[in-house]
Symmetry: C2
Subunit: 252 residues, 2 copies
C-alpha cells in the first residue's frame, strides 16, 4: 500500500474555549478528509494567544503531511492568526498584492471603505499562496504544509472545496457499521478476537443511549475491501448471536 497523507486540525479562538461557540469545523473537516483518503490524526484548540498558536502549529506541522487551521483571520484586534503563522515560520508578514487587489475590487463593488482594518485581511506571511474565498472574498492562505482557513463554517467549507484539488490523496477508508442492541460487555471478548485477526481493519465499539435504551455501534474501517468484507461478516454474525441469545440487553 502506498503511504497515506496525514493531517491535523488547529482550531483557533477564545470563543471555542469559553463555550460561547460550539465548534462545527472539526466534524466537517474530519468527514471531508475521509473522502480524500487523508488520515486526520490529531486536533487541537487554542485561544487567540500568539505563543499558544505558534507552539501548537510548529508541533503539528512537523509531524503531519498537512495542517488546517480555522479562525482568527478577520479584521479585528483579536484576529492574530496570520501574524502567529508568520512567527511560526519565522518569515516577515505583509500585504499580499493579489489579496489587496481582490479586496479593493470587492470593497468598491459593495461600497465599503477600504480602511486599514479591512485591508489587514490581505496580510499574509512571505511565501504564502492564496486560498480562494467564494463567500466573502477575503482569502485564506497556504504556507508550506499549513492551510489557514476562516472560522465561519460556511467560509471554511468553501475554502476546503478550493484547496481539495491541490492535496495529495490516499485510498479512502471505507467503513461499515453494525448495530447491537445493548451494551458492550458480552461482545467485548469475541470482538477483540476478531480485531486481532484483521490488522488492516480498525474496529471500534461505540455505546450510545438510543430511544429504547443503551445500544452500541460496532464500526469497521479499512482501506482493504476484501478484509473489510470478511471482518464485517464476522462482526455481523457475532451481533446476531448476541441478539439471539439475548445477552446484549442493558447497559454494560
Amino acid at each position: 500500500m502506498t503511504s497515506v497523507p496525514t493531517a491535523a486540525v488547529l482550531l483557533i479562538g477564545d470563543e471555542l474555549l469559553s463555550g460561547r461557540t460550539k465548534d462545527k469545523n472539526l466534524g466537517f473537516i474530519a468527514d471531508y478528509l475521509v473522502g480524500l483518503g487523508i488520515d486526520l490524526k490529531e486536533a487541537r484548540c487554542v485561544a487567540d494567544d500568539e505563543g499558544d498558536i505558534v507552539a501548537a502549529l510548529n508541533a503539528l506541522r512537523a509531524r503531519y503531511t498537512y495542517v488546517f487551521t480555522t479562525g482568527g483571520i478577520g479584521p479585528t484586534h483579536d484576529d492574530i492568526t496570520a501574524d502567529a503563522v508568520a512567527k511560526a515560520f519565522q518569515v516577515p508578514i505583509g500585504h499580499h498584492p493579489r489579496a489587496l487587489e481582490i479586496l479593493l475590487a470587492y470593497f468598491k463593488e459593495i461600497g465599503r471603505e477600504p480602511n486599514e482594518a479591512r485591508l489587514r485581511m490581505a496580510r499574509t506571511p512571505e511565501g504564502a499562496t492564496l486560498i480562494e474565498n467564494a463567500v466573502s472574498k477575503a482569502p485564506g492562505f497556504r504556507i508550506g504544509n499549513v492551510f489557514v482557513l476562516a472560522g465561519v463554517p460556511k467560509i471554511m467549507q468553501a475554502m476546503m472545496e478550493a484547496i481539495a484539488p491541490t492535496l495529495d490523496k490516499g485510498v479512502p477508508m471505507q467503513s461499515r457499521s453494525v448495530a447491537l442492541q445493548g451494551g458492550e460487555g458480552d461482545v467485548a471478548k469475541p470482538l477483540g478476537e476478531i480485531q486481532a485477526r484483521y490488522s488492516d481493519v480498525f474496529i471500534g465499539s461505540y455505546p450510545f443511549e438510543g430511544v429504547g435504551g443503551f445500544a452500541t455501534n460496532l464500526v469497521l474501517r479499512s482501506r482493504v475491501p476484501a478484509s473489510l468484507e470478511k471482518a464485517e461478516a464476522e462482526v455481523k454474525a457475532l451481533a446476531e448471536k448476541m441478539t439471539r441469545e439475548g445477552t446484549a440487553r442493558g447497559w454494560s
Copy 2:
C-alpha cells in the same frame, strides 16, 4: 486578584477524528468550567493510540491546573485510556478494590455475567481515586491533576457533577454580548481602541451568518464587574453609532 485555576481537555477516540461522531463534550466542559471560574486554555483530540495519548497527557498535565479526558474507558479492545494514563504517570495498573465492588454489585443487580471484559472497567492506575458514575456505575478516576471521564455525554456530564465540589474554583468570568448588524470592517478600529483601554476585559468579535444576512457579536468577558460595565457601555455606544450611520451593513 487571586490566581485562577486553568484547565485543558483531552478528547480521546478514533470516532471523533474519523468524523463518525461529532464531539459534544468540549462545548459542555467549556460551559461548565466558566461557571466554576476555571479558565479552559486548550483542548486536544487524539486517536485511540497509546503513544499519542501519553504524549498529549504529559504535555497538558504539566502545564495546567487540571486536565479532563473523555473517552476510552469501556470494556472493549479499543478502550485503552486507563492503560495510557498509567503509562503517562509511570505507575502500575490494576483492579481498584472499590471499583470491583461497585461493578460486581451492579452486574449482580442487573443479571449480567461479571466477565473479564466488564471487569476491565475497574482497572485504574495505582494511586487513583474513583469518580462516581451515577448513570451506569462503571467509575471514572482521578490521578494527580488528571480526571478521566467517560466519552458518552450523559455519563461524562454526571461525572463532572460528581467532581465539581472537589475542584479549586476562581472568580467566574462574566460576559456581555452586543449584537451588530453587518460585518466587522468599520467597527474594527474603534473596537480595538476600546480593548486597548481595558486590560482586564477580553473583547472578541464574532461574525456569523444570521437570518437577515451577515452580522457580528461583540463579546466582552471579565472578572472585574466595574470594568466590564464601563467597557460594555462603550461598545454599546459604538454599535449604536454604527447602526445609526448605516456603516455596518453587509459582510466585512
